[in-house]
């Protein structure tokens, strides 16, 4: 009985949490800003948003798509959030995704293992390769003081061209295509029986489950272990951590490595569950940059990131449904950008919140919808 009350109390605390209120307010304002733009452009915002929600939730197919779209974002968002929590700005998630996907495809195609070994191997190979890629940036920062923003941006591009370079090799590239050979069946995490229900176009896969498990593990590491303690300490205050005996440089590298592993994991899962191959890239696909948005909207916490990834994935997919009445899907970028903008301007929001609270203060708790 007491435990039930405790849980309820915790949930209420969470909902009334200042940060959550601000985030929800930002989302609302973001959607409103999008509505204004739609109205100026001559559309009916309500109609458009309705289509969006129907798109993402209105059918099993829509829900499946939403989940599939969200999966990589959970991990790229987590990657950015983890780095933020430890004081680093990992803008190289894009490149780490590419490396993870690339390494996973190589392991998925060239190795011959039973599924029960192949899947974890491919995932680990992808994560490790990306982890090392990111750790290199961390090393440059720790040893040479190179700003991690620049280092990771450079590495993004190097990763992209590395991807394209490896695809020049005939042993890797599938003949008369822009892509590599497909990974073996034993490395795939597709849920075939579900695909029969929602149709083959929706690449339903176990990725979401794996991603959520990884998210829980990350949360545990960050808040319940000595490693997490050190990483957070260094993230908040390098000087005090150093004074307290923590090895700051080592922690920077570890932090980047873990962050990279998460980004690489997203790439690996994407290959294993959706694309089953890598292709020549003309430009970055955006999983990494969207991960930054997801992390910011999710307030850089593991739970927040997961929820925010689903929101992001959902409205991105649902947004395409708006094309039925001619709304360009770019409106989603505008909405997302606006939400982030409002999140950034927290003083503005606090101001708005104060006004709102004053109006509604009739005793008793008010839940911001």
């Amino acid at each position: 009985m007491a435990r039930e009350n405790n849980f309820k109390a915790k949930m209420i605390d969470y909902i009334l949490n200042e940060n959550l209120k601000l985030t929800l307010l930002s989302i609302i304002l973001g959607l409103l800003s999008g509505a204004v733009i739609l109205a100026i452009a001559g559309f009916n915002p309500l109609e458009a948003y309705q289509l969006m929600i129907i798109g993402m939730l209105g059918s099993p197919r829509g829900i499946a798509w939403t989940i599939v779209q969200s999966t990589p974002l959970i991990l790229t968002g987590l990657s950015v959030a983890f780095a933020f929590k430890t004081g680093l700005f990992n803008i190289g998630v894009e490149g780490q995704f590419i490396i993870g996907a690339l390494a996973a495809t190589l392991a998925g195609y060239f190795l011959d293992l039973p599924a029960i070994l192949h899947i974890p191997t491919v995932l680990l190979v992808g994560m490790t390769a990306a982890g090392l890629w990111a750790a290199f940036a961390g090393y440059l920062k720790a040893k040479f003081g190179v700003h991690e923003v620049i280092a990771t941006i450079m590495l993004n591009w190097i990763a992209l061209y590395l991807n394209n370079y490896l695809l020049e090799f005939d042993s890797f590239r599938r003949p008369s295509s822009e892509s590599s050979h497909r990974i073996k069946e034993t490395a795939s995490i597709a849920i075939t029986w579900l695909r029969d229900i929602v149709g083959p176009a929706v690449r339903v896969n176990w990725g979401i489950v794996i991603a959520l498990v990884i998210a829980i593990i990350v949360h545990y590491i960050l808040f319940k272990t000595t490693l997490g303690f050190q990483l957070r300490a260094v993230g908040y205050n390098r000087d005090a951590s150093e004074y307290g005996g923590i090895n700051v440089n080592r922690n920077i590298i570890i932090s980047m490595a873990i962050s990279g592993m998460l980004g690489g994991g997203a790439g690996a899962l994407h290959v294993m569950g959706v694309s089953r191959q890598v292709s020549v890239l003309a430009a970055m696909e955006g999983f990494g940059f969207n991960g930054i948005a997801v992390s910011l909207i999710g307030n850089n916490s593991p739970i927040g990131v997961a929820l925010s990834a689903i929101l992001f994935g959902g409205i991105s997919y649902g947004g395409r449904n708006m094309q039925n009445i001619g709304v360009p899907s770019e409106i989603i970028s505008i909405v997302i950008g606006s939400i982030i903008f409002y999140i950034a301007s927290y003083k503005l929001l606090q101001f708005v919140l104060k006004k709102f609270n004053r109006k509604n203060d009739k005793g008793g708790k008010q839940y911001v919808k």
Binding site: I37, A41, F89, I91, L140, F144, G145, V146, H147, V149, I150, A151, I153, M154, L155, N156, W157, I158, Y161, L162, N164, Y165, E168, A282, A283, M284, F289, I292, A293, L296, P328, E330, I331, I332, S333, I334, I336, G337, S338, I340, F341, I343, A344, S345, Y346, K347, L348
Partner: protein
């Protein structure tokens, strides 16, 4: 041999130019203490605004100005968030990188009937090449002994016959240097970026100066975008800017927050790209992709070897609040 070098220099200048505009934008913003990650987005909106205006009016200079205004508008947005609402400047910049391309494509579809690429601007309506007609004249009129100097693709032609945007970029480097290091406004800008509280106590309007610098930063980035869509190519498309805003950011840090340093960094980058294109054009049996990695690898090596720990303006990235004690 000489003509090969000239060709490389020519490509270098061409590719460095958009970076130079954006990097100068980055410099002026950060010198006043505001981080501007949104250069990418500001370049994008400038590129679009310029290309759209150019396609609709046929006047490249009007397009150029509109591009600057569009970029400046987003600069204003960033300023409002960062200066007045004390936003996390990095986050605000990221927001702009989502907003700007989204808005650009949205408007493009509305104006150009669903197209995400603006109509191609005909050659005569692109950014002019100011020295082109002079060189052609000289080639025609000068005696045979000297006229080849000004022929198409001669050394002089390759190096000096550039789009107007190139010259403006180079001039802006000098202008910005003068502004920042020689004028009263420049002294105040630097003061605000190093120690806003000190400046405030002496009656300098920190907020006003930061607004000015950030808006200017956006305008410059916008012009950089236009130098892409009005000169190098003749249209705007979604993959046009593709990370150059971030490279410009790297150039700012690389160049130690000085206009001349940023110029050098942008030229280095342009050079690496130029080498890549040149080597790719020769029969050299090296993968284009490996060559494409060159600029980025070179940047990393230079950063490690020569730049190391850099010293940013002391107050950069920190919102200034009166009453912050």
């Amino acid at each position: 041999m000489l003509s090969n070098i000239a060709l490389i220099i020519s490509i270098t200048l061409m590719y460095a130019t958009p970076l130079i505009y954006a990097a100068l934008g980055g410099v002026i913003s950060e010198k006043s203490g505001i981080v501007n990650i949104g250069l990418e987005g500001m370049m994008t909106i400038g590129a679009f605004a310029g290309a759209a205006t150019g396609a609709l009016t046929g006047n490249p200079w009007l397009a150029f100005i509109v591009a600057g205004l569009a970029g400046g508008l987003f600069g204003l947005l960033h300023a409002v968030a960062s200066v007045t609402f004390h936003a996390n400047q990095v986050v605000s910049g990221i927001a702009i990188n989502f907003l700007a391309p989204g808005l650009a494509l949205f408007i493009s579809r509305r104006i150009f009937n669903g197209a995400t690429m603006t109509p191609l601007i005909p050659l005569e309506n692109k950014m002019p090449l100011p020295l082109n007609s002079i060189f052609q004249l000289l080639h025609l009129r000068l005696p045979k002994s000297v006229s080849p100097l000004f022929a198409r693709n001669s050394v002089i032609d390759l190096i000096f016959n550039q789009y107007a945007t190139v010259y403006i970029a180079l001039a802006l480097v000098g202008i910005l240097w003068f502004l920042i290091y020689k004028t009263k406004l420049g002294l105040r800008i630097r003061a605000v970026g190093e120690h806003p509280k000190a400046a405030d106590t002496l009656g300098v309007n920190v907020y006003k100066i930061r607004y000015l610098c950030v808006i200017l930063s956006g305008a410059l980035a916008g012009l950089g975008g236009a130098s892409l869509s009005l000169a190098i190519v003749s249209t705007f498309r979604a993959t046009l800017v593709s990370g150059q805003g971030f490279i410009a950011l790297a150039a700012v840090i690389f160049g130690k927050w000085k206009p001349q340093g940023a110029l050098a960094a942008c030229l280095l980058f342009g050079l690496a790209t130029g080498l890549r294109i040149f080597l790719g054009g020769t029969g050299l049996n090296v993968s284009q992709n490996l060559l494409s990695m060159l600029p980025y690898i070179i940047t990393l090596i230079v950063l490690v070897g020569f730049v190391g720990k850099v010293v940013a303006p002391a107050a950069v990235g920190l919102p200034y609040e009166k009453g912050d004690n």
